[in-house]
């Protein structure tokens, strides 16, 4: 488990001397805060329950980072690439402070429409998160397979699921976008949502 995926370099809106490097390090979702002057690391936060980070959002003049990604619990047991329909993913969203403390972390997953525990596993990934400070809301896009919210034509296909959270990470609203009777996957882009 030594996978590394440096996805994002983002500024601290309140401190010009540091940057965040966000992605995957040592196989776990990681946020590294470092000095711009010489690259020295101030702190490194590592998520045991988030394998990858696909999105980050900040508000202007705010301390907090909102991040989201996925947790792949069976990766250490051999669920490695290429990733098929039998690999389990859970969508994960989190809020953290600029000192590395995590305010909350939420896991969101549904049951695969064809779930049998061997050929088909639950597969949900958070691909985008956007924080709207003035409205105290967080918008999330999940690429998932959830029988609970796909109304019909259930199958082994990714849908796009939009979730509205409050600042505390509680769900306020969920909307699912499916292809109806068309049988193909919808993939979401990383950081693929904005207000």
């Amino acid at each position: 488990m030594n996978e590394k995926e440096p996805h994002f370099l983002v500024a601290d809106p309140k401190q010009q001397s540091v940057l965040y490097l966000i992605g995957r390090y040592r196989g776990k979702g990681s946020v590294i805060r470092f000095n711009k002057r010489d690259g020295t690391i101030r702190w490194h936060a590592q998520y045991d329950k988030m394998s990858r980070i696909h999105s980050v959002s900040q508000a202007a003049d705010d301390d907090d980072l909102f991040i989201c990604g996925d947790y792949q619990p069976n990766e250490v047991l051999g669920d490695t690439a290429p990733y098929g329909s039998n690999v389990n993913y859970k969508a994960v969203m989190a809020r953290m402070k600029d000192d590395g403390d995590i305010s909350w972390i939420v896991t969101s997953t549904g049951k695969h429409p064809l779930y049998d525990g061997t050929t088909y596993e639950d597969q949900d990934k958070c691909m985008g998160i956007a924080y709207y400070k003035e409205k105290s809301q967080v918008a999330v896009v999940i690429q998932g397979k959830m029988t609970e919210i796909r109304p019909s034509y259930k199958g082994d296909f990714f849908d796009t699921i939009l979730v509205l959270l409050n600042e505390g990470g509680e769900t306020e609203k969920v909307v699912v976008i499916t292809q109806g009777s068309l049988k193909y996957d919808m993939y979401s882009a990383k950081n693929g949502i904005l207000w």
């Binding site: 590394k4 440096p6 994002f8 370099l9 983002v10 940057l19 390090y25 711009k36 690259g39």
Partner: protein, 205 residues
Amino acid sequence: MRLTSKVQQVLLALSLLVGLMTPHVAAQCEDAIWPIYAGGSKGSEDVRCFVYDPIEQLIIVGGVTGSEDFAPAPNDHGYMFALDLSGNWKWGNFFYNVSYAVSHIDGCQLSSDGSSISVMGLGNSQPLLMDLNTKDGKFNRFISLDYMYATADEVPTYTTFGAIYYDKRDYRDYQPYFYTSFLKDGVMFMLRVKDESGVVSIDWN
């Protein structure tokens, strides 16, 4: 004379009709309907860059395509395009150096002052740092990171995920710096590239 007059009247009526319709057609173009589709018939497009530019009020999208009826050739090409908030196409580009295409756009972010977009990708299998005008998609900066010890037997493998930040005015020396991170032969690198008056140098890594 009478026939000529009739023809003139018809032409006048047609010209008036066209004249009246033109703004209407233009207005219809302003009311583009979401969703917008961009790509080739193979649907072989990945989106890896998605940002909103509040100054120009544009949604900017980038990624990789392998569709021969979208890209100029059937191999991997990085692409970028911009839409306004109504979904109207503002600009779209593929990128070429003299001898190779930018094969991947892996990530992007607005620069520190928000006036341009910094883009990370791959070209000729080497990491690229780019800065583009958000208004028209044209290059401001194009930097290719070449491994100085590469030989015919030792060619490093780079993997990029899109980590880039372009600070146009450093808080200490007021100089512009690119920050980036990528993998070289599976090892993660973080580095700062100084971009002073067109002279590029790696400041630290």
